[in-house]
Homo-oligomer: 332 residues x 2
DNA sequence: TTGTATGCGTTATCAC
DNA sequence: GTGATAACGCATACAA
């Protein structure tokens, strides 16, 4: 067994042809005589030859790979998005390479993005928007297609597919108000997206004439425990809260558990709204009303935008709002 | 603004030096005269030069990258592992590239592994063991260091760091028996690892003299809803069950919710044990007794093993059992 | 249908 | 301390 992996040369030698023919067998089998084809394929198997993507990528100036940057791998929040992204890309012969950054870790962000650019991916998909100026300029200079997702900003680096966090905050405020809740609250993470939602929720609630609209910020990650603590703190402060919006289903489940622990009837005494429509939302007791975000669609569109730009096809609409909708269940 | 990204040549030209000197400035700044250093660095910034990792990897025959293959991104189950793996690798200048396979999707597995091998990573870390023969032989032929994790098999492809699922099943059986439970059950996923645990649990329970030891298999993914359904089915079948082992915390939380929904007191009438010690386990009401697995440690060791082998350092122990321990809380 | 020559961007080697 | 040269593995252009 050889020390180094086999190359086209090795295969060519064994099959008694030139390297060029081997390359053709792999990339354009139609242009090779049937018997040559067979002989070469046999040699490929015999040597366990696997093409070197670095060499091929260098030659073709295309890595056939798209890089994605996630703020976290925790929770099923981004699972749909990543899975559909991976699936869509694979169908077109691209691989997905995932990098992980921390939420709001500006320093790491730039470093990580530079590392991705080094690999010369055909596109970069970001969950969340680019926060640091350094990362932004590095991305622009790289001329690699970039899709920011999950957020809807005014000034995308390149392309964008997401939904409006402000609209979500307003929608939920409208919903709770329509259900007659006049003392409302929100339990939310403290990253930029979550803040935008929370502020919109409070603003709209007040505009609608709420008697109180409180906000409880919890630090990342948004866990069940944070939801419990958040609701406990809110109730201690104001026992008259009758509707609470939690900016993730995990927080909502925590709030639900805390409410039940304190003997509150959900939804009779307290209505709870989550966000994300994760699988457990429908299985909670009572089932959680929540904001559904179509991660699968975001992933598909992000893949399409990326590949279109990478292949020089025109992109009709580089900014896509996929929206959201409220799934009303038994917790409200 | 140029169409193509800048190369060492461009930088060299601008700085009035040779390409070689630019390369040295980036990789061995100590060997360059201070003023040259400054001039070159200035040129690098001016052009926004980012080295091409494909070219460098090709030349050096090292990608400075480790690939990881995960069965799923869902849930925090593997989060610790991946995060610590990424962190450990980054500290040593390696990047982590993540690929995602489905549970038990043998066909996909081989395809995905071949795709990874094409990139010539310095190591491959697998969560779970290699199931298909094709993938196995491709890995062996590639001569890339491989670490299988999360599982403890007899015949690793190369290196292995994990824990014994059989030992876990037995431990939990012992624990429930010691607490006086004679009618026990397990709610579990149906992948190979989960089956091994479940069978061990049943076998040991019977050996200890349990009056009944039932098993409910649920298909992946292991959700809260699956836990609810599982417990409901078990209780309908046998209302005398007093202790149940759930092979993930999500299942356990579902079982807990279902039990409470049916008016059962936990732990008085039903004891519940989870697995994974995910963050919500301690925040459930009552807090969940669970099996804690040290994902962080597994990630660190996997990184160390991979890098050692990649750099030609000796590996004293290619097979590591990191064990587990039972965290006893209020649900038992 | 198949082969030869060349270059992608980088770095090791050796000479200056 | 710096530069010229060659080579990593593959695929394009062109020739046979």
């Amino acid at each position: 067994m050889s020390k180094k992996p086999a190359t086209v040369q090795d295969v060519a030698q064994l099959a008694g042809v030139s390297a060029m023919t081997v390359s053709r067998v792999l990339n354009a089998p139609g242009k090779v005589a049937p018997e040559t084809l067979e002989r070469v394929r046999h040699a490929v198997d015999a040597l366990g030859y696997v093409p070197n993507a670095m060499a091929s990528g260098l030659r073709m100036a295309r890595a056939r790979m798209v890089a994605a940057l996630l703020p976290t791998l925790v929770g099923p929040v981004f699972q749909e998005l990543v899975e559909s992204l991976a699936e869509s890309l694979k169908r077109s012969g691209y691989q997905l390479m995932i990098g992980q950054a921390g939420y709001d870790a500006t320093r790491e962000e730039e470093e990580l993005i530079r590392a991705l650019i080094q690999r010369r991916p055909d596109g970069i998909v970001l969950v969340g928007k680019v926060s640091s100026a350094g990362a932004r300029s590095a991305l622009l200079a790289s001329r690699i297609p970039v899709v920011e997702t999950w957020d809807f900003t005014d000034d995308p680096v390149d392309m964008l597919v997401g939904f409006s966090h402000v609209a979500i905050g307003e929608s939920v405020a409208d919903f709770l108000h329509a259900r007659g809740h006049r003392h409302v609250a929100i339990i939310t993470g403290d990253d930029a997206r979550a803040r935008a939602r929370a502020e919109a929720f409070i603003r709209r609630s007040n505009a609608l004439g709420a008697l109180s609209a409180r906000c409880f910020y919890t630090r990342a990650p948004s866990t069940l425990g944070a939801g419990r603590k958040g609701l406990a703190a809110l109730l201690q402060d104001a026992a008259d809260i009758s509707g609470v919006f939690c900016s993730s289903d995990s927080l909502a489940l925590g709030a639900l558990i805390e409410a039940q622990h304190q003997g509150l009837q959900v939804p009779k005494q307290l209505a709870i709204v989550g966000m994300g429509d994760q699988s457990f939302a429908q299985d909670a007791q009572p089932a959680l009303t929540t904001v559904r975000l179509d991660g699968t669609r975001i992933g598909e569109i992000a893949a399409e935008l990326t590949m279109a730009r990478a292949e020089g096809r025109p992109v009709d609409s580089p900014i896509v709002d996929v929206g959201f909708h409220l799934v009303v269940r038994d917790s409200t």
